[in-house]
Symmetry: C2
Subunit: 889 residues, 2 copies
């Protein structure tokens, strides 16, 4: 005989957590709690196999199902000394669906099943509350009518509206027991008219109706579509859970509450929570009555802790707390109800907690011996570390939301609105806190972004210029806040009908993307000992090295502070935008021949060399990957007419010539244009200057400190091996020249970005000329998808909403597509050169899921914004632990 029904509670332990395929997620969890001796309200689960059989047999149940369900009901009745359909002591049950994974489109819940015109009296008697009984009854009819009988919810709401109108009141709580009784009568009449027969009074008929509705909902169009989009096989089926209702509001020996086995805010090892006597679960959250604390220790004057009010039950709860922590080996969030002095646990799950609590709990659990250090490392969500490194909005603070954008760079900041980078700098120089607000930022705004406390843009995505640069600097940033509009002329910003002037104070929260008017209080970050301890444990576990993307001394110092093991991406073009250099850069661009370009580049050489000297001093002897010039030249030209005129004057040329050159350089698709090593090939003098600056800088630092830095020169946008051959030869020539001139030789390597699909495909050839590969996954994502990150905002959110893409591929690597190319590149590259060093320097280098993938395909390091380094260290450790013994490191 097939076992179709698994009972739980009141001593029965037929299922367990590992039977999720058979019992569904919810059923398996209920069974597990029962199995470890928690007092869960008794119940039973109809397995997913019932669902499968139901559809295989033209929507009819197995013949031996009914007796097993009956046995399940009897189990509940006995456990609670109640009877299903009994007039005096009626058993009420809930019926819920429960597939392996939670799924929209499925029937959710019918509560209070078993109520009818007779049993409602029994409920009234047991609870001593007529109003509660009739309200429960009408809720049951409404739920059952909606989800089982398919009646539109408006039909029910109309009846309540009439009832309130008749009584001249506006809120549900103002209706009395009598009112609800009348509502029930009208509900029943309406339902009968709709379905052509009376509302079912027989509890068993009600039960089978609800069970049938759950199974039926497995094949609704919405559920089918969802499964198709999420690759969930149709033959998985759903389970059905039938469980006794318990009530915490049947008198003063009843209660309900929510508690945590440790303090979820601080992680302190003490019993934490709230409860209410004679109340329902929703009363605790509704805020009408003030919940009381659990432990005496936490009670303030006038409060009545449960420890004193219900000492016996409290003691039981302490036992439950201990059982749960030892069973789940983690802090638990528990919902409980006390019905007539009997404790029921309704739910337990790993408790949500702050990042600080997360660290403390993990470390203390390890120190208590419940888990080991490796396990502790897996317990902290890497992304949550952001909370510890940046100021956060005080959760208790009042705030006026002006608008919302993308959470582009974590942390919160307040300051006066400024609309230009220059003003940001000058006001910051005067000691003012400012927020730079721009439609979008460009490399010319870098100084203003540095000066500002935070950055707000109204256009652009998670990898827009503002977002990338802000993350690199550790500045909070909200990007692409489309509902806010900026008027540069009027010097105002407008949002939600409100207009603020430049100088007005706003607050941005880069973790949530919200923008607030005025100054909102914040909590400053402190790096606890727990943080260092966990980072140390993480470092002991990981295989991947972690580097930082950095180009300024400040970035480099931050990177070292956070434990970066080198620089994985130093973007040399950022150095070109400095006001002291941009003129020479523009002269270089405006030059009509190579000679002119060389003259301008000669002016840039000392600056660039000094940049590298500064970085090498900070980082030596750690490696520094320096990417040669990447963006198209037109990015360095001014755009507006006035600016063009100004630059023309400075350059001693006319605005027409400037404009013509700008037009010549303009590109239809700059992302796919004349940039990267294509510049190095067509204007070799640019890379020659940069290479000379690198080697002269390295030699200078080696002479000065005796410790030679290890420059790793990186050629961007290589798609063809010969591009690397040619540019590599340029760099090598410069190295030899500098070594000969200075009499000092240092170690260096030359490698390339892998950021074009073609480069990945011919990686075996490219590897012949490369000492290392660094995956540029921003551009690789753009080209693999044929998706411009600047333009994707128009449809990418829709794609994620519709489930066409599981995540924004600019945030987390698209493992199937982009990841497929990375796999090909890694394999082919190492087939030519087994020891080829592989890294990643795209924005994905700081994303935990992407880091796990990088670990899996055998990269040597990841590189990310300095402020993401701790996140990456932890994520790398978790990835290594997950890979476990499968791999020899």
């Amino acid at each position: 005989m097939t076992k179709w029904v698994y009972a739980f509670g009141a001593g029965l332990k037929e299922g367990s957590a590992d039977m999720k395929n058979l019992l569904g997620g919810k059923g398996a969890n209920l069974a597990e709690m029962a199995r470890i001796g928690l007092p869960v309200p008794p119940g039973f689960t109809l397995t997913t196999e019932v669902c499968t059989a139901f559809y295989q047999n033209a929507r009819s149940y197995p013949s031996d199902l009914a007796p097993q369900v009956q046995a399940g009901m009897t189990h509940i009745e006995k456990a609670l000394s109640l009877r299903f359909g009994d007039v005096k002591a009626p058993l009420l049950v809930s019926v819920r669906s429960g597939a392996r994974v939670s799924m929209p489109g499925m029937m959710d819940t019918v509560l209070n099943l078993g109520l009818n015109d007779d049993t409602v009296q029994g409920l009234a008697a047991m609870s001593g509350d007529q109003r509660f009984a009739w309200d429960s009854y009408r809720r049951f009819i409404q739920m059952y009518g909606g989800v089982v009988l398919g009646i539109d919810h408006h039909r029910f709401e109309e009846i309540i509206a009439e009832a309130k109108k008749a009584r001249g009141v506006t809120e549900d709580p103002q209706l009395t027991a009598d009112d609800w009784q009348k509502v029930v009568a009208k509900y029943k009449a309406m339902v009968a008219a709709e379905i052509g027969k009376p509302f079912p009074m027989d509890p068993t008929e009600q039960l089978w109706g609800a069970v049938g509705a759950v199974f039926g909902s497995w094949e609704t169009p919405r559920a089918v579509t969802y499964r198709k989009l999420n690759d969930i096989p149709g033959d998985w089926g759903t389970a059905v859970n039938v469980q006794a209702m318990v009530f915490g509001n049947m008198g003063n020996d009843c209660a309900t509450g929510v508690c945590f086995t440790r303090d979820p805010a601080t992680g302190e090892n003490m019993f934490y929570g709230e409860y209410l006597v004679n109340a329902q679960g929703e009363d605790v959250v509704a805020g009408i009555r003030t919940p009381q604390p659990m432990a005496k220790e936490r009670a303030k004057a006038g409060e009545k802790p449960m420890e004193e009010a219900m000492p016996v039950v409290y003691q039981q709860l302490l036992d439950v707390r201990s059982t749960l922590e030892h069973h789940y080996k983690d802090m638990q969030d528990i919902e409980f109800t006390v019905q007539r002095g009997t404790l029921f646990i309704l739910q337990c799950r790993n408790g949500k907690r702050t990042a600080a609590a997360s660290l403390r709990i993990a470390i203390e659990l390890a120190e208590e011996g419940l888990i080991d250090r490796k396990e502790a490392v897996t317990r902290v969500n890497p992304a949550s570390l952001d909370q510890l490194l940046h100021p956060t909005i005080d959760p208790k603070a009042k705030r006026v939301v002006l608008g919302k954008g993308l959470p582009a760079s974590p942390g919160a900041a307040s300051g006066a609105i400024v609309l230009t980078a220059d003003e940001a700098e000058s006001r910051a120089d005067r000691g003012e806190a400012v927020i730079l607000v721009r439609v979008e930022t460009s490399p010319e705004d870098i100084h203003g972004m540095h000066a500002a406390k935070g950055i707000l843009t109204t256009r652009g995505g998670m990898t827009s210029h503002a977002a990338v640069v802000a993350r690199g600097m550790g500045r909070p940033c909200v990007a692409g806040a489309g509902s806010i509009s900026v008027d540069y002329t009027a010097q105002t910003i407008t949002a939600g009908g409100q207009t603020l002037r430049a100088g007005d104070v706003i607050t941005i929260d880069g973790a949530s993307g919200e923008v607030y008017a005025g100054l909102v209080p914040m909590i400053e970050p402190t790096l606890s000992d727990d943080f260092s301890t966990l980072m140390q444990w993480a470092d002991d576990c990981r295989r991947l090295k972690v580097r930082a993307n950095a180009e300024t001394p400040l970035d480099a110092q931050t990177a070292r502070k956070f434990g970066a093991e080198g620089i994985g991406l130093c973007r040399t073009e950022h150095m070109f935008f400095d006001p002291t250099r941009i003129l020479a850069v523009r002269q270089m661009i405006m030059a009509s021949d190579e000679e002119g370009r060389r003259a301008a580049l000669a002016k840039l050489l000392p600056f660039q060399r000094q940049d590298f000297i500064d970085l090498f001093r900070i980082m030596a002897p750690l490696p520094i990957t320096i990417r040669l010039l990447d963006p198209p030249l037109h990015e360095f030209l001014p755009h507006g007419n006035a600016e063009l005129q100004e630059v023309a004057t400075t350059l001693g040329t006319d605005v027409e010539t400037m404009r013509r050159r700008a037009t010549e350089l303009a590109e239809a698709n700059p992302m796919l244009g004349h940039r990267g090593c294509r510049l190095g090939v067509t204007f070799p003098e640019i890379y020659e200057m940069q290479a000379r600056a690198i080697f002269e800088g390295a030699v200078a630092v080696a002479k000065e400190t005796g410790v030679a830095p290890v420059p790793e020169v990186m050629i961007p946008l290589v798609g063809v091996k010969k591009e690397l051959d040619m540019t590599r030869a340029q760099v090598e020539r410069m190295a030899q020249a500098v070594f000969k001139e200075t009499g000092v030789t240092i170690d260096y390597t030359i490698g390339t970005m892998i950021e074009l699909p073609r480069a990945a495909l011919v990686a075996d050839h490219i590897a012949e000329a490369a000492d290392f590969f660094s995956f540029g996954t921003n551009d690789l994502t753009q080209t693999t998808f044929g998706l411009s990150r600047d333009d994707a905002g128009k449809f990418l959110p829709t794609y994620v909403d519709l489930g066409i893409l599981p995540k924004d591929p600019f945030v987390s690597i698209d493992i199937e597509g982009v990841g497929g190319l990375m796999r090909i590149a890694a394999e082919r590259g190492r087939s030519t050169k087994p020891g080829l060093k592989l890294g990643i320097c795209g924005e994905h280098g700081g994303d935990p899921a992407s880091i796990a993938f990088c670990d899996e395909i055998g990269l040597d390091y990841v590189s990310c914004s300095p402020y993401r380094v701790p996140v990456a260290r932890l994520a790398a450790a978790q990835a290594a632990l997950k890979a476990g013994g499968d791999r020899t490191v």
Copy 2:
């Protein structure tokens, strides 16, 4: 003993054509001619192994090399009854390098080697021409001094300049024997001063000097760089060829000439060529004397055919002609010299010919039994067929070149310059021939391009809008003629200092890219019976089907005329630009909600349906692949202010709203933007309208003619399977709706473009939802390389020049990169769905090398511009023949 030297000529047959690795290309060819009995001047080849040994042994020769060289020289001396260094009858030789492949940077040729102060007298005596002898001598010193002794050529030129100044003349031919003798003296003095010792007088020393220079040139930086860029191994080495000099200018029993075994212009089977008595090879081409015909039959009045002037030698040449055609089984181009009545063949090779000759020769050779039909099919260069399908510039016509661009669409055309599409149309309507000249074209210019005889743009590449559309229409087009500038305001074009006004006549040659002032005479194409015959033979050989890219009835008719087996790409957006529709399209774009868009689309439906009815009538029952809307919406909006205003008025909106919408739609990288199925996903109503139009059109034609067309609906820019799931469902719903409404059901399929790297990588998934794949290799090339075809003009030519890329990847598929992805997609797609139909519809579908690749990876069809269909049929046949028995078709 290693054989280092292979002799040829005068009865010796030591080498042959298949010994290219040992003898180099040139040596093997000389050996082959000797081997089949042709009278080549005797000589010998030092093998490539000598070169290898030379470098392996610190630049010293094998000890047994010298005796073998000496034996070779003796062989030559005996054959010609001359002696090397003899004062009376001196042997002179040429020394040439000859690697397996021709290679820049290698020493080329030293002629007349063996001359010195004594032997020059012998040469003068033998030739009876003092001036010739001294001129030959000074040429030898100059060549030897330059390539062997490394003396700058300016040093020699200075001396000649002085000599001419002294004589008061300006041209070399005005110098006398005495003058040259003085030049020789000065040369020798200058060389002695330069190298610190006298110019070598000993012929054997001269010989070894030249041989050493050839081997030395193998390792010059230029040769090394070239080998590196072209993947030529350094250990291949070069051979050295030493060959007797023969002279056609030693008297009236001497002659020199060039002839063809058949007429290279028409292919007629008759002996064709020109010769000159008592002349050197260069005299024939120099045009100072008028060459005479070979055959009596071809002689005009007053001409002296060789058949009469030198009947014995002529008869020998006829034998050579027959030997060569039977040996090489193809028409040969022969260079010969007659020295004192003895015939020498200096070179033979497959003769260049016109396309018409190529066809006729191939067919007649097959009919004569020299080759079979399959071989005949391989003999015609598919690309040359263009000549037969389009007017060509009369090669004899005089012309003034204004500028040069890319040969973007073959054929020549003359007409008045017009600078706008509207004017092109209105003047064409009045019967005028016009050439549309634009900086670049956009879809709004289509009507003007149709109306024009040809199109000239000053910007854009081989796959720019102008180029693609012109090829599709069969209009000649020169694109990207950067040296020509267009001034729309002044209504002029300027090129090479010349300014032409609108209305002035120009001629463009789309086959060469040249632009001429005025009307240049042309030759009109005629399709001969040879053409049909060869096409028929080709069709018997090929496996690949050939379709055409077509969207207008005219295109479709042309496609059928040229033998297309269906339409492989019908771009529906081209239909949107018609003036009768563009207004509704713009209303659709300006609509603020779905309802507004649907209203505008409803207006478009009847037009689009009629488009499809017209195409289906022409093509049924052949298949038609219809691509749903692909370009971003902003392409349909006007750009200029005036146009914006005009459209705003027509749409009943204001220009500000228009501008705002245009700004909203603007994209940083439109190529990677909101286009293709991304439009279908976000605005499903667009694809719904198009699908409805397709099915209503197909049903209408099925009802009307009884023959149902087979629409193949193609979804563009799919990168994620769910995109295809969703858009496929939209199309299927429309099909079902139309079938239900009309009561008629027709066959159709739904497939996708593979034009993004990601699509290729996940082709196994995508194939689940696709009935066919069509490779969109234009976009696939752009994304794989990260290369915008609109912007690549700034560096792609440099890339091809430097050998970084072998060819423009937009013209011929990049087999390693883009082809690698196509292979992955084909394999993965068919792993899911073995019968999956695969085709290509990018511009590469008409490129012979790309077609061969498509055949190799098992595509089912290629699709190309209508005028390329014959090219594709022939290329497909050649590909199948090349694959040969390796594959069961």
